[in-house]
């Protein structure tokens, strides 16, 4: 009922392209006709020109777009990698060993609902202003999905598999490493993907902490200077890199977990 089997490939491609063309066409047109002031919105073509310009131009935010991008990437990767290194093992332990579950769950449930941004004042007092404070905000944002997915994944380990291993004489540690972890891996990977998304989404918030470089900083400066082209360029770059890295993680996932494709 909800399928489109009768539709030809050419028609599908046409529809896909027409939506995008319409979106960018109307956008371009609205600006060209002057329906919206240049101080509020610039055309997609103008954003591209700003991109070319920002490759070498450091006005108004003090750095080229390449420096901003690399700084932001470094910051997000630090927070994200740390959250995986701590969050995944923690989630696995919490999901598999009852004492670990009872001990860590209350702490986790207390920390979980706190929006990452609300940590900023405390983090500034404890860690000062700098990359540690910014990375901590990203760490907090990325940490939660890592833990939840690893926890859920290992809890869903098939009872049959565990029983078979037990019958074969496996110890609790062996059960954890040889049965629990492999069967939780798909969920763990999904968690890592979600947590990368959260980490990247928190970039702008982290760079609110007195930073002087980075994509989030760049769009704040763009707003202060009333340069919608800079703001929109920053948003586009953040969006594109986020999508590209999420795609990369999906490819890694397929390579790391080949059995997942055998449906």
């Amino acid at each position: 009922m909800y399928n489109e089997k009768t539709r030809s490939v050419g028609m599908k491609v046409f529809l896909n392209v027409s939506g995008l063309l319409m979106f960018f066409g109307i956008w371009e047109l609205v600006v060209a006709l002057g329906l919206i002031s240049e101080k509020k919105l610039v055309a997609p073509s103008a954003i591209f020109m700003t991109f070319i310009d920002k490759l070498t131009n450091v006005v108004p935010d003090g750095n080229t777009i390449i420096v901003h991008t690399l700084t932001s990437l470094e910051l997000v990767l630090i927070g994200f990698v740390l959250s995986c290194l701590i969050g995944v093992p923690l989630g696995l332990l919490m999901g598999f060993f009852k004492p670990a579950n009872r001990f860590f769950t209350p702490i986790f449930e207390i920390i979980r609902p706190i929006p990452p941004l609300a940590w900023i004042p405390i983090v500034i007092v404890v860690l000062g202003i700098g990359i540690q404070a910014e990375a901590f905000i990203i760490f907090v944002a990325a940490f939660v999905p890592c833990v939840i997915n690893s926890y859920t994944g290992i809890q869903a380990t098939s009872k049959t598999l565990l029983d078979v291993a037990k019958t074969a004489g496996a110890s609790k540690t062996q059960l954890f490493f040889k049965v629990g972890i492999p069967s939780a891996l798909p969920m763990v990977f999904t968690g890592i993907k979600i947590s990368f998304g959260s980490a990247w989404a928190t970039l702008v918030a982290a760079e609110m902490i007195a930073s002087t470089v980075g994509l989030g900083f760049m769009i704040q400066q763009g707003r202060n200077a009333v340069r919608p082209d800079i703001v929109l360029l920053g948003m586009s770059v953040i969006g594109l890199i986020g999508a590209a890295l999420t795609g990369l993680l999906s490819i890694l996932e397929k390579k790391a977990l080949p059995w997942r494709n055998l449906k």
């Binding site: 319409m22 001990f103 769950t105 405390i122 769009i219 919608p228």
Partner: protein, 260 residues
């Protein structure tokens, strides 16, 4: 087998862990003088009730944040479910607009803040509602669309056999079947939404919990006030999630019947 339940000794660990958390917090505040202790936080809360900031009692701040998230949440739920259903049941609509949605989706809600402020100004609630709305809607659209397109074909065929038209199938089969997924999307959206509330209020607001958090960074750091803000956000977001779960259970009583 005896029916007497074994007392779960591990519950002691839960109590221990919370105590440990408080102890660590207290120790950290003893080491770092500008970091407020748990006691100072409680005291700060009572001081906040006695001496309102900007002449506004704490209830005004709580209600302001609640109003912002609830209005944006309601709008995002209606729009998000609507859009998700359209993507799910109109192939032409999906073909045309899913690519557009897909290029907007990876832009994080907080990255919208500067442009929304350029468009709608920093003063007033319009930009805040829009920022929070963007934060909430994405997860709802994706979950609604995914669950509708994954409806068990058996249900659809059964409805068709019984003579249901498109509209009846949607109202009686597809939508009820998608409710749990839609609610999951709403909950995900809400946690992004709370982050957006705090962000929007930290940037420009005269009241709200995010405003309190931002005030804690003015002049001398007042981390006790930040902790008060953190506790308030956590309580409010738990309250909203709880109400949502109650509504979900009322809407789909069959989930409770899921006997193993």
């Amino acid at each position: 087998m005896s029916k007497v339940k074994k007392i779960d000794v591990y519950y002691i660990l839960s109590i221990l862990s919370v105590l440990l958390l408080l102890a660590v917090w207290w120790a950290a505040s003893a080491v770092n003088e500008s970091l407020a202790s748990p006691g100072q936080t409680v005291e700060r809360f009572f001081r906040l009730i006695e001496n309102p900031i900007m002449g506004k009692p704490v209830s005004v701040h709580i209600l302001a944040s609640m109003r912002r998230i609830l209005v944006a949440f309601f709008a995002a739920s209606v729009a998000g479910v609507g859009l998700g259903v359209c993507f799910g049941i109109f192939p032409t609509f999906r073909r045309m607009f899913w690519p557009v949605f897909s290029i907007l989706r990876p832009v994080p809600p907080l990255a919208w803040i500067p442009i929304v402020i350029l468009w709608f100004g920093v003063i007033g609630d319009t930009s805040k509602y829009i920022i929070i709305f963007i934060g909430i809607i994405m997860a709802i659209v994706i979950n609604t669309y995914a669950s509708i397109s994954e409806t068990d074909p058996l249900f659809l065929k059964a409805a068709k056999t019984l003579g249901a038209n498109r509209w009846q199938t949607l109202v009686h089969v597809t939508l009820p079947n998608s409710i749990p997924a839609i609610f999951a999307g709403m909950k995900t959206g809400l946690s992004t939404g709370w982050m957006s509330v705090v962000a929007a209020e930290m940037i420009a607001a005269k009241e709200g919990i995010g405003f309190l958090i931002n005030m804690s960074m003015k002049t001398t750091p007042d981390t006790a006030l930040d902790f008060v803000g953190i506790v308030l956000v956590a309580l409010c977001s738990s309250l909203v999630s709880f109400v949502l779960s109650v509504i979900e259970r009322k809407l789909c009583p069959w989930l409770e019947l899921d006997v193993k």
